[in-house]
């Protein structure tokens, strides 16, 4: 059996080579040392604190130099100023709860859109109910997907709505799960030209190491991301970058308050803070640390190989696949160029695929050598790499799309599928 072409990064990214080596050596270390003082020394002080023979024995962990260095690497990837903190958590949802608390802390109306991830919207709604305030979800999906809205028009629309609805905080996905790249900075600037925003949070789960961000531009108070998609660490780990100096003390005090009261219960969030400060209280529950080592290695792999804003390679790949798809029975969902990312949606021309279940469709693609996300109704999502697709790779994509689409009169029934 040969490896498939993996274009499902938006669901779960391929593990980067460095992350693979780090995870492998961590597993070997765990088998040999468990939680011995040698492991503690590595965890707290990095591989530099190990004797040379240990470094030689576990070369995949050589890049680990402590939590501080990991945060520094992640900040570099996010374009975040070195003096602004970054939070690490086992569960991204905990960080979204933090964002929700901060958004509603000083706001009467928080604006969001109908492009957000539903689970995160539910967390925002829950917080809105708790404090008796308003979450105004702006309906823009149809305009973006069907009416040819441009990023500039979107920014103006949100600004108009902020005035009309007296919105004073903003929560936006930087890139949506279906690949819409939102102009978060432009939206924030447009709103702030007319009305003061108390807090801006962005969901960068599909953005981090894919399109953006550039947090040094001072437009977003809290930027949420993860390590298991486009970064390629594989082990899920949530990130929250502080984005503006003006809200640094506010976020710090809120995190401390929520951790103190137990309202934020993420063990890694607490533990990583203690680790960085060098003050382990011994009372934290046992924490999964695999994500730390894998993320450091993946960040090292990504350093220099990825540039904020996305490369021309990804745009070329997007264009190449979009051009070949119609002849094979698939229609690309083409948005205004300003909204495009490395995620491409294809809708089937064939009626039997339109009636298909996502899980079965995904399996059929895998059978013909292509790993992607498929949804009930036949739409598929391709996460395109940053490096230009070679002719061999293009051939795999062409072949897979053609073979799964099959003849126009073919009918089939498929099972369910989902996933971000």
């Amino acid at each position: 059996m040969t490896d498939s072409l993996y274009l499902d990064t938006a669901r779960l990214g391929l593990m980067s080579p460095g992350a693979r080596r780090a995870s492998h050596d961590l597993a070997r270390l765990a088998g040999a040392e468990g939680g011995s003082p040698r492991f503690d020394r590595l965890l707290r002080h990095g591989a530099g604190a190990w004797p040379a023979d240990l470094r030689r024995r576990y070369p995949g962990l050589a890049g680990w130099q402590g939590v501080g260095r990991l945060k520094e690497s992640l900040r570099t990837l996010a374009g975040s100023p070195p003096d602004l903190p970054v939070l690490l958590a086992n569960r991204s949802a905990e960080l979204v709860r933090l964002a929700a608390r901060l958004l509603f802390l000083r706001s009467r109306t928080v604006l969001s859109t109908d492009l957000g991830w539903p689970a995160y919207d539910a967390i925002l709604e829950s917080e809105a109910r708790r404090v008796g305030r308003t979450l105004a979800r702006l309906a823009v999906r149809r305009a973006v997907f069907e009416d040819g809205l441009t990023p500039g028009q979107l920014a103006e629309f949100v600004a108009d709505q902020a005035v009309a609805r007296r919105g004073d905080a903003l929560f936006l996905p930087a890139v949506t799960s279906d690949g819409v790249r939102l102009p978060v900075e432009a939206v924030v600037r447009a709103v702030e030209a007319r009305r003061e925003l108390t807090f801006v949070a962005a969901d960068g789960a599909q953005d981090f190491c894919h399109v953006g961000p550039d947090l040094g531009r001072d437009y977003c108070d809290l930027y949420l991301a993860g390590c298991h998609k486009w970064l390629g660490a594989y082990h899920p780990m949530g990130l929250a970058f502080y984005g503006r100096r003006r809200t640094r003390t506010l976020i710090e005090a809120t995190v401390a308050g929520l951790l103190g009261s137990g309202e934020l219960g993420d063990p890694l969030l607490r533990f990583s803070g203690q680790l960085e400060a060098g003050r382990l209280d011994g009372g934290t529950e046992t924490v999964s640390l695999a994500g730390l080592f894998a993320s450091q290695a993946a960040a090292d792999d990504a350093a220099g190989a990825w540039t904020t804003g996305g490369s021309a390679g990804r745009a070329d790949n997007h264009r190449a696949v979009a051009e070949l798809a119609p002849a094979l029975g698939w229609q690309p969902v083409l948005l205004d160029p300003g909204f495009r990312s490395g995620i491409l949606l294809l809708r089937p021309d064939r009626p039997h695929l339109a009636a298909a279940g996502g899980e079965e469709l995904r399996s059929r693609f895998l059978d013909v050598g292509l790993a992607l996300t498929a949804y009930d109704g036949g739409t598929v999502r391709l996460s395109l790499p940053d490096t230009p697709l070679g002719s061999d790779t293009i051939s795999v994509v062409r072949s897979a799309l053609g073979r799964v689409a099959g003849p126009a009169d073919r009918a089939a029934a498929y099972g369910p599928n989902g996933g971000r």
């Binding site: 802390l105 008796g132 305030r133 003061e196 001072d218 100096r245 003006r246 506010l250 809120t254």
Partner: protein, 304 residues
């Protein structure tokens, strides 16, 4: 099943009816048997007239009784209405009992002092009834203030803090109130505060206030209070905005008067929708002059 009260007997079987009826009937029977028709008619007329007179007299007495009953009910209506408010009724009874005890003391000097004091108390109660509570020269108002901040139906608090001296709300009662603010924010209350600063506390040209006031403002910002700032001199044309006040949801408005050392001279709390509307209007006007602390922090950035 037993009846609730004693069984009622028919009026026709009562002695009050049977006795007079039997006596009258016997008299008329004797008159009819022994006296000529003219006498019979005269006796009948007399009896009817007596009956009429009794009826009219009864009606007059009944009307008088009604008047007295109504007056009594009117006097009883106060305790009856208060009976539904146990906390107030208990106070009413205590006051009534004290007044009865006072009435038993005939000393005219005591009576004179008592009347003067009672008039003052009555005035205070009338103010309370109008929704106004006055706390003179005491920090006791902070207890009520904290009750308002913990009231579950009050979701927002708009405050205007007129800072005329360093150390504003930095004494122990003030610190306690600030902690109540932060607890309220944690529970989900939206607290917005406009800080009016005397110009020497935020000198012209300085990006931020100076001294302890800055630490006080930063502390509030850190705890989630939305803080905006304005210099006192900017409000020279709007003297009615120079006031220490707070609007608690849409329920109450409080105005604090301080001396030059920041000690409370008077705190007036009004539970009055009209007063709340006026205060909100004043607060909205005040925000037009103010700039958020967050914006001031932005301006500290190299490109700000």
């Amino acid at each position: 099943m037993p009846a609730d009260g004693p069984a009622r007997r028919s009026a026709l079987l009562s002695f009050q009816f049977v006795g007079p009826a039997m006596a009258g009937s016997l008299t008329m029977a004797l008159v009819c048997a022994l006296a000529p028709p003219a006498v019979q008619l005269a006796v009948l007329g007399a009896l009817v007239s007596i009956l009429g007179g009794l009826f009219v007299a009864y009606m007059a007495q009944e009307a008088d009784r009604d008047r007295r009953r109504e007056k009594l009910l009117e006097e009883l209506s106060v305790p009856l209405a208060l009976a539904a408010e146990p906390d107030l009724y208990a106070q009413y009874r205590d006051v009534c009992q004290a007044l009865l005890d006072l009435a038993a003391r005939p000393d005219p000097v005591l009576r004179g002092i008592a009347v003067l004091k009672l008039a003052s108390v009555a005035e205070q109660i009338r103010a309370l009834a109008a929704g106004e509570v006055v706390f003179p020269a005491t920090e006791a108002w902070r207890t009520v203030y904290e009750q308002l901040l913990t009231s579950p139906d009050i979701r927002s608090y708009r405050s205007a803090a007129w800072v005329r001296a360093p150390g504003y709300w930095e004494d122990p009662p003030g610190r306690q109130s600030m902690r109540a603010n932060y607890d309220a924010v944690r529970r989900g209350m939206l607290i917005e505060r406009v800080v009016i600063l005397r110009d020497d506390l935020w000198p012209s040209g300085m990006p931020l206030p100076v001294g302890d006031v800055l630490a006080w403002v930063e502390e509030q910002h850190r705890h989630g209070v939305w803080v905006t700032l304005v210099r006192e001199s900017q409000l020279a044309g709007e003297p009615d905005l120079l006031v220490d006040s707070g609007v608690y949801g849409d329920r109450a408005v409080g105005v604090q008067e301080l001396d030059e050392h920041g000690r409370t001279v008077r705190f007036v709390l009004r539970f009055d929708p009209a007063a709340v509307r006026l205060a909100l209007d004043r607060w909205d006007r005040l925000t037009l002059f103010a700039v958020s602390y967050q914006t001031l922090l932005d301006r500290l950035l190299p490109n700000g």
